[in-house]
């Protein structure tokens, strides 16, 4: 399976994503420059973390206008698999590929730490290698990761099972204490209605090596491989 890892000016997790993916048997990954418009030959797209275009104006707000994002929309429109991580999640929301928005963390500080995520549904392209209720340990690193959507959107996400991961404690309890950024309903990651686009604030690529304290991120990438 071949992954396209997008490179915007200011992307800084692009190399990490390529490194982590290339280490998984059966996958390969390559960069696609933001000025390019072709995704031919790729089976899935990763929109990586970082500070695309400096995140001036608003996180992800400029990246959505880049040439490559037009292609990503077409790719997603025809059912292609797209995963956005951290700034990538912000870009997918800004692009309208995912509902809602990411706003400033509740505590106003940038937060970098390991968090626990409860897998809400294993019936998706992105979580089928895990089981529902399973707790994953994956780090976050963001200043604007507080997921916000209006009540109506949240109700729809809940009803359709679009919330794939929620912040929880080590035992899987979804509590306010376990919410690192004030996200509504502890939402850490959601998929679109069609099920082929996924965005999450935590960094699965940083949890693929036992030397980094967790390999739970592999479950996400393995799921994409399975589907």
């Amino acid at each position: 399976m071949k992954f396209a890892v997008l490179r915007f000016p200011g992307s800084n997790c692009d190399q990490d994503c390529v490194h982590a993916l290339n280490a998984i048997p059966g996958t390969s990954a390559d960069y696609v420059w933001h000025k390019d418009t072709s995704l031919a030959g790729f089976d899935a797209v990763v929109v990586p973390g970082g500070f695309s275009y400096g995140d001036y104006l608003r996180c992800g707000a400029i990246a959505r206008f880049s040439p490559v994002m037009k292609s990503v929309k077409e790719f997603a429109g025809s059912g292609g698999t797209v995963i956005g991580i951290c700034n990538g999640f912000q870009i997918l929301c800004e692009s309208g590929l995912l509902p809602g928005a990411l706003v400033r963390n509740r505590g106003l500080h940038f937060v970098c730490k390991h968090v626990f995520l409860r897998v809400e549904s294993s019936e998706s392209r992105f979580t089928n290698a895990a089981s529902a209720g399973q707790v994953l340990k994956i780090p976050i690193a963001h200043g604007e990761g507080c997921y916000f959507a209006d009540d109506e959107t949240l109700a729809r996400l809940r009803a359709d099972g679009q919330v794939l991961v929620r912040y929880c404690d080590g035992q899987g309890n979804v509590t306010d204490d376990a919410n690192p950024n004030g996200s509504r309903e502890n939402i850490a990651g959601i998929r679109n209605a069609a099920g082929n686009v996924f965005g999450l604030m935590p960094h699965p690529e940083r949890a693929c090596d036992p030397l980094l304290g967790s390999t739970d991120g592999l479950a996400i990438f393995q799921s994409i491989l399975n589907s």
């Binding site: 000016p9 200011g10 800084n12 500070f51 400096g54 500080h109 940038f110 690193a141 030397l211 980094l212």
Partner: protein, 741 residues
Amino acid sequence: MTPITPKIIAKHGITPEEFERIRQILGREPNFTELGVFSVMWSEHCSYKNSKLELKQFPATGPRVLVKMGEENAGVIDIGDGWAIAFKMESHNHPSAVEPFQGAATGVGGIIRDIFTMGARPVFSMNSLRFGDIRGDSAEARTNRRLFAGVVAGISHYGNCIGIPTIGGEVYFDDSYSGNPLVNVFCLGILRHEQIARGAAKGIGNPVFYVGAETGRDGLAGAAFASRELTEESKEDRPAVQVGDPFREKLLLEACLELLASGCVAGIQDMGAAGLTCSTCETASRGGTGVEIDLNLVPKRETGMTPYEILLSESQERMLVIVNKGEEDKVRAIFEKWDLPFAEVGVVNDDGMMRVREGDSVAVEIPARKLADEAPLYSREAAAKSLPAPLDLAKFPEADCTASLHALLVHPSIASKRWVWRQYDHMVRLGATVLPGSDAAVFIVREANKILAASTDCNAIYCRQDPREGAKIAVAEAARNIACTGAIPLALTDNLNFGNPHKPENFLQLREAVEGMAEACRKFDTPVTGGNVSLYNESPAGAIDPTPTVGMVGIVEDAKHITTQFFKAAGDEIILVGEPGDELGASHYLLAVHGVKAGPPPKLDYDKELAVQDAVRSLIRSGLVKSAHDCAEGGLAVTLAESCISGDTMLGAAVEIPAASSRADIPLFNESQSRIVISVGSCDAASVLAGLEKRGVPASLIGTVTPTSMLEITTAGKSLSWPLAELHKTWAGTIPSLMGE
């Protein structure tokens, strides 16, 4: 043009003797712009004129040294298999005092540029920070909290955005830094041996390119600003502080690395302190050539800038690149790809002059080498040496030891710094295998498949009481921290923070510290790769405590060796490698409990220290050590408490420490050197102790890791105990609560 009067000369910090020397060099009177150029290049910040003679004592060579101290922007050290590291530490103290966020942010930006200028990809940063006391409600404490929060936010902003992890460092709080915080930033990059780039203007006729941010009026003469004392009026110097744009720097970093890989570059130099002035005359001086540039071609973001302003601007995120003639189009294509402003601004020539034109008129014409390398050097007057009297313990009766451990853990210098490092992205680049908060950071460099350990250290109380011994201990402690992770020290960079060198007592401190540090570097076989000198660290209240900070890097040869400081399993035995010790002088116990900085610092015995470090490293490599933590501020009691409470799961300990008297504070809180607390599996304890005895390293079994939630210590006939939850609350909660969370 502004006439040159004695008043103007003095305002530029140029002495009458220096002015005479400028006239001799030029064979005429300098014009106003030239005077400005000399003033920044001959400032302490750029020329090290008050410290260079002392710095010559540092060992600069060794089998691993590929680029040595002073040769280029940063030293380069061989780490094997064709890979090398470039690293350096630099201060941004003065800018951070007047504008903490931008001051710290641009400090990070500057040191990162120094590293990629060498052709290395920056892979991690650290920082050593010092502020005045942040406790209490005084105006001073509030200012110190504002500076602390601003500096951390600035580092977080710049480092996180550019995607270079900040993986460790240190933060201390002490009255002596009130009004004059220290912000020392460290960066390390990785490169292949053949990728080392040079900051020399080689090749007569080669074009000179300017790339990066447009030049503005920010940071005018910042190098000169950094070379005088901070006063009440320093706030008005805010224009001397630059504004950073980490996004621009990220583009510049990627473009420069791509450019260097293309083979089009003859020389490259960042524009840091003294901006365009420094980069042109230094590249010419190193290349043995001349450089001629035209200011009309320089990208500018403001109109009506004079040559003086353009040359002395310290606008950030700019580089000077000397390109092999004929390759200009390739270079332009790379800059265009990364959407960076650039311009061909000049040419390398053979007359040895730094010549700056503005269209047809010549604004500056100075022999480059004399400007860059022949600044006057001074050996200032040093005061007579005086050492503190031996500590009279009778004056400091034993305090309640249960409360004293809390008093130490609640001291902001010892309390957990998680509030700080959680704001830094320390995990990007997939390298942070030992997270911040352990003795040394351990980082996997993925490009090279190498594991590095790094630590910054300086106990300024020791240096205040005895600069020579304090500086020796800074090196020893850095090496000890590195040893505790299982690594072998390779080399170090230093950041020498002192007061005004014109005051004999300050100059004595500088001289003593440099001599001590140089001696220790030779003993630990760690050459100095370069660094930074920051003098004039004074506020209206006086000079800071002398703070010669060390940033040391080591290498871990096998991932299996990586060791952390916290206890791993109940039932493991706790061994003190080294002697119990008895020196309370200059300790944090005296500071935190008795409120004084008093007595001589502990003595460092090199042989003992090396034996302890070698023994622990060797035990780690044989797979016998589960945790290793060095004894530093707060002594054995703080070390044990941290080993109990700093891991993901807290573990108790039951310990007995031998005591030479009826006082319990001495065995608990003394800061004698050359001590490391390790934990080992119970079945290995006997063989570990036998092995240590065979090596002649003093060691004793002092206790056991327990499944209880208590730290229990018996010493001097007293049985003391602390609930871990309380210790943890004190240690982890202090800084967040001081910062209003």
